[in-house]
Amino acid sequence: MKKKKFSILQIVLMAFMMLLTLTMIIPLLHILARSLSDPALSPSMSGLSIIPKGFTLINYEVLFSNKNLVPSIFNSIFITLVGTIINIFLTITAAYVLTRPNLVGKKILMIFFIVMMLFDPGIVPEYMVVKALGLMNSQWSVILSMSVNVYYLIIMMRYFEAVPPSLCEAARIDGAGHLRTLFSVIAPLSKAGIATLTMFYGVLRWNEYFRAGIYISSIKKVPLQVILRKFIVDGDVTTLIGTQNLLNYNELAQLDFTALQYATIIVAIIPILMIYPLVLKYYTKGVMEGGVKE
């Protein structure tokens, strides 16, 4: 009797969790489906439908024929790659220095970084610095102004602290300098940590739109998220598609602006989906497997 009641509870629980995950999956699949649908049919599509109506790639053709969108994808890739390399290099070196046991001034340095983390001067004072440095309308404004995240620096320090200090000492006795100790002892032993933080920084960089929207005024230099925001939040269709393009395509077929929006969303999500399995592998492996108890 008791056992049966338990399994009913399990089924209810599983059904509930299934519903919850469906609220995450269905909207995404619907967006994908409508972006692949025939613009003549898609405006009447139900928000719950996840199968394309009259499969076509026309929405993606419109997007990729656009003179603003394609460069913005390359801008995003450039900012993400260069930005992440700077992030990870600075974070690794700073974390190494701050985890050395006998560093003189360690306490003062830590207080400095925590103050940097807690007190946000806000966007206007930073805007003036970017202006004074002559970085306005340059992608370096975005790349440099987000060089280190203190929160991620502290996570990196936790990973480095987990490396047994005796290994570093042994390396030092063998005559290795700090750089060698860092790159041939600590870094290889903290692979999971470095991989995780590289991905976190990469995601942060790819998703960045706010500073880029303020500092970069030339549409040729902005990253994809800025274009996406103009399109979705500001509802500015012509910026993205271009008037001439709109005219050209209107002759060929009807356009579904919502489907074009959705296609842009899909383009912005793809790199995240590509990196996601790595996040699962390096960061959440423990919680995914630690759950096996019985």
């Binding site: 909207p27 400095f112 995240i272 423990g286």
Partner: protein
């Protein structure tokens, strides 16, 4: 403490050690330079709050003029109220749901199904707020949106929640939950799977059922992470999640979700009233630091561990 004394007694030795470790300071230098340029310099620029800005020539001293303007303006009171209400919903009302989700995840007996739930629920955390705004606008669309399709089965609707003043804060609440349910529950789930199996065995021997186990074993193990999360959340109270509001807002509802950071952006960047925006940033920053410091002290008293 002892070390410090030693340093004071022997400054030459300290200098010698610093010279020996010069590679370390050199390695740290780029990071320090970054913070000096992009954090300390802006902090110095915050003196703008008490100056009149001039693009060319010297700034003139304005005293507390801008602070008086801010505190006199009825708009500021509304914005502060919106910030606190939205923060309360996100940081106080929402996080118990993450705890419940972690407990439910742990109750799932089918391992593959649990992994599936984890894989799906962690994903939204990695999407940008621009993308999430797009997804939610699609989900809540007045014509053909998924929510209204479902409401139609029950003969209700259609509703347009994105432009409804009464609903928009709850849209923020649920979209934040949608994004963070999986990811933010990890800390609680980790605490649950860290519970010793002996405890479960002992409880089962005493004839405890699942509910007893949740109440007497799992929940007590969650009290410390819950305290930590709650305290950290208080540090975000003055921010209320700018990225979300900035992308979910529209003219119909702006008056009820206009928060400090959206105000700073609008006044400072769009209207170029630098002094007012900086003054608001200063108020926000100082109150934020005080909140974190207070919670740090409280936390040390309650759990013996501070925030840092």
């Amino acid at each position: 403490m002892l070390k410090n004394k030693e340093h004071k007694r022997n400054p030459r030795r300290t200098l010698h050690r610093m010279w020996q470790d010069r590679t370390l300071y050199l390695l740290l230098a780029p990071t320090l330079i970054y913070f000096c340029i992009f954090r300390v310099w802006p902090m110095i620029n915050m003196r703008l709050a008490v100056y009149n800005y001039k693009a060319k020539g010297d700034w003139t001293f304005a005293g507390l003029k801008y602070f008086k303007m801010i505190f006199k303006s009825p708009a500021f009171a509304d914005i502060l109220k919106n910030t606190l209400i939205i923060s309360f919903m996100k940081y106080v009302l929402l996080f118990p749901l993450f705890v419940v989700f972690a407990i439910m995840l742990n109750e799932l007996r089918h391992n593959k199904f649990r992994k599936y739930v984890q894989v799906v629920s962690y994903l939204p955390h990695f999407l940008s707020w621009v993308v999430i705004a797009g997804i939610w606008m699609s989900f809540l669309a007045p014509s053909n949106g998924a929510l209204n399709e479902i409401l139609a089965w029950f003969g209700a609707g259609p509703v347009d929640l994105m432009t409804s003043k009464g609903a928009i804060r709850w849209v923020l609440f649920f979209s934040e939950g949608w994004r963070s349910l999986g990811w933010d529950s990890i800390i609680f789930y980790t605490a649950i799977i860290g519970i010793s199996p002996d405890l479960y065995e002992a409880a089962l021997m005493d004839g405890a059922n699942r509910w007893d186990i949740i109440k007497h074993i799992i929940f007590p193990a969650l009290i410390i992470p819950m305290t930590t999360v709650f305290i950290l959340n208080l540090g975000f109270f003055m921010s209320a999640g700018f990225d979300q509001v900035f992308n979910f807002t529209n003219p119909a509802v702006n008056s009820v979700i206009d928060i400090l950071d959206t105000y700073i952006y609008r006044v400072g960047i769009e209207n170029a009233q630098y002094s007012i925006a900086t003054a608001v940033s200063l108020i926000k920053g100082v109150v934020g630091v005080i909140l974190v410091y207070l919670t740090h002290i409280t936390s040390k008293k309650l759990t013996g561990e501070g925030v840092w």
